[in-house]
């Protein structure tokens, strides 16, 4: 199934499938537009959802059987919402799908997990709804300026109203709301809080996919609808996004280093990964942004699955209780270390080529500060990767608490292995990835 998105990208010509709901013309009704980018992302979402189901059977037992049924139903609505966000070609419909995805996320975060998970969910509800309201007001301004909600129609007549103040206010409000949803730096607290407390099953899915979908919508809007020139240069969002991204990668990496809990460690590392994506957007390297996101979806999903697996067997996320895990569970520890290497950006992994493509673009633009900070933050990431690997491999073993081990879950192990292999094979096919990415834009 993982071959499907790559196959679609390689073999389809630049064809675009559109679907008008209810047979209304796209100017009146709602339209879905399936481009190569959205098809690839939608298959990736479904693929990760499938893998999460396969690998986290045991964690679903965290949730009791009655709510397990509801849980799956709500999760399916969430997947539908995320795919809708990716496919839709209508501003207001985008808002509706964002709300569908958000409401289901609030509910799923609260089921199971730690005692504080409901507080995290409520916190997310407040922040998320404010962000969504800003998106709605932004859509209002865009509609007032352009008189259309269809994105294609908006692009066609863009010249007539692109200087209007209402258009610009609308664009800023809308992108601002989406950036909160994507967990960009100054407003990332909800994300960390949610990742720290929620149940491991949902964490695997939301941690790898949700925030990226919003980042993808931002890329789609800036690149295809609002045009990078207007957003980044004339309105001047470039500096803002760049600053937030640079702060995110530095502070995310430094904070991650001090975490003693696998979940918070991965949460802060996600904050810094989102930062990389937004730096790529700010310097106009849209294909790098997509590669970065795809690489992080793979890496993060594998990391969260391994986290869930360790939690299922050891009953803890705390790093200091996992000393010498390598002796007990050599295979899973090895996979974990490979994936952390991809998070850092060690050669031969997907994380490496994504960072290289970002740095190359930054070098082209002679943005030395950006390059410097990326290298610095990669170094910090290397340090925390080293810290975790050292703990798993060598640390002295004191006060180990063991839950009785049942047999290893072959299904989960093989899923993680498959993802890791995909990761490495992407790392080996550097040229192909560039070709695929350049086909999108």
């Amino acid at each position: 199934m993982c071959i499907v998105p790559i196959y679609l990208l390689l073999n389809s010509t630049q064809q675009v499938i559109t679907y008008d709901f209810g047979g209304w013309s796209s100017l009146i009704g709602i339209q879905f537009k399936l481009t190569q980018l959205s098809l690839a992302v939608a298959s990736l979402i479904s693929f990760i959802a499938l893998l999460t189901h396969l690998s986290c059977k045991q964690e679903a037992g965290d949730v009791n059987t009655f709510s397990a049924v509801l849980f799956s139903a709500v999760l399916l609505i969430l997947i539908a919402g995320l795919c809708g966000i990716v496919f839709t070609n209508d501003f207001f419909n985008l808002y509706v799908f964002i709300e569908i995805a958000s409401l289901t996320t609030y509910a799923l975060v609260a089921i199971g997990g730690d005692k504080a998970a409901v507080k995290a969910a409520f916190n997310y509800l407040i922040v998320g709804t404010i962000a969504a309201t800003f998106i709605l007001i932004g859509i209002g301004y865009i509609y007032a300026a352009s008189g259309t909600l269809n994105m294609d129609d908006f692009v066609d007549r863009f010249d007539t109203f692109k200087d209007a103040r209402a258009t610009r206010v609308g664009i800023v409000l809308m992108l601002g709301g989406l950036m909160v949803k994507a967990g960009l730096f100054p407003l990332h607290n909800w994300m960390v809080y949610v990742y720290k407390t929620t149940n491991s099953f949902f964490l695997t899915f939301t941690g790898s996919v949700s925030a990226k979908v919003y980042a993808l919508v931002i890329i789609k809007l800036i690149y295809f609808v609002f045009t990078p020139d207007l957003v980044l240069h004339i309105i001047g969002l470039k500096k803002v996004i760049l600053l937030c991204g640079l702060l995110a990668i530095s502070i995310g990496a430094i904070t991650a280093f001090y975490q003693e809990d696998l979940r918070s460690f991965l949460a802060f590392s996600s904050v810094s990964q989102i930062g990389y994506t937004f730096i790529a957007i700010a310097i106009g390297a849209f294909s790098s942004a997509v590669i970065l996101m795809a690489a992080h979806v793979l890496t993060a999903s594998a990391c969260f699955m391994i986290c869930a697996y360790i939690h299922a067997y050891k009953g803890t996320y705390e790093l200091k209780k996992l000393y010498k895990l390598f002796e007990e569970m050599p295979y899973i520890s090895l996979l974990f270390i490979i994936n952390i290497a991809s998070l850092v950006g060690i050669p031969l992994t997907a994380g490496f080529i994504s960072k290289v493509s970002l740095v190359l673009t930054a070098l082209d633009q002679k943005a030395w500060i950006v390059v410097g900070l990326i290298v610095l933050s990669t170094f910090m990431t290397l340090l925390y990767g080293y810290k975790i690997s050292r703990t798993l491999l060598f640390s002295s073993n004191n006060g180990r608490t063991l839950r009785s081990m049942s047999g290893p879950d072959i299904c989960a192990l093989s899923v993680v292995t498959v993802i890791t292999l995909i990761n490495i094979s992407i790392g080996l096919m550097f040229n192909h990835v560039d070709i695929i990415a350049s086909k999108i834009f």
Binding site: F92, L103, K119, G140
Partner: protein
């Protein structure tokens, strides 16, 4: 706009989860009014197809969009209240400490 600001202030300033939720609802009502005000055409009449009347008509689309927004707001409120009940059950209070 004023209502939006009041709602936002209410959400950000209060430490009580229930008050935050009320602020959120006020914020959403403000947005709804913003859309409705935007739709008003000066001298426009009710948008019902009637050949006898002519002249400008008020744009009905934002009203229809706001129907959806009201439903979304209601759903958000319901999820929020459900979470509040759980918080009350688990922590014994709805104050943010």
């Amino acid at each position: 706009m004023a209502i939006i600001c009041i709602g936002l202030f209410c959400v950000l300033s209060s430490r009580n989860y229930f008050k935050q939720l009320i602020g959120l609802t006020v914020l959403q009502s403000g947005t709804i009014l913003f859309f409705i005000a935007m739709a008003k055409v000066a001298g426009g009449r009710v948008p019902i197809l009637n050949p006898a009347n002519s002249g400008p008509i008020t744009n009905p689309l934002p009203h229809v969009l706001m129907l959806t927004a009201i439903v979304v707001g209601l759903a958000t409120l319901a999820v929020g209240l459900a979470l509040l009940m759980q918080i009350q059950k688990r922590f014994g209070s709805v104050e943010d400490k």
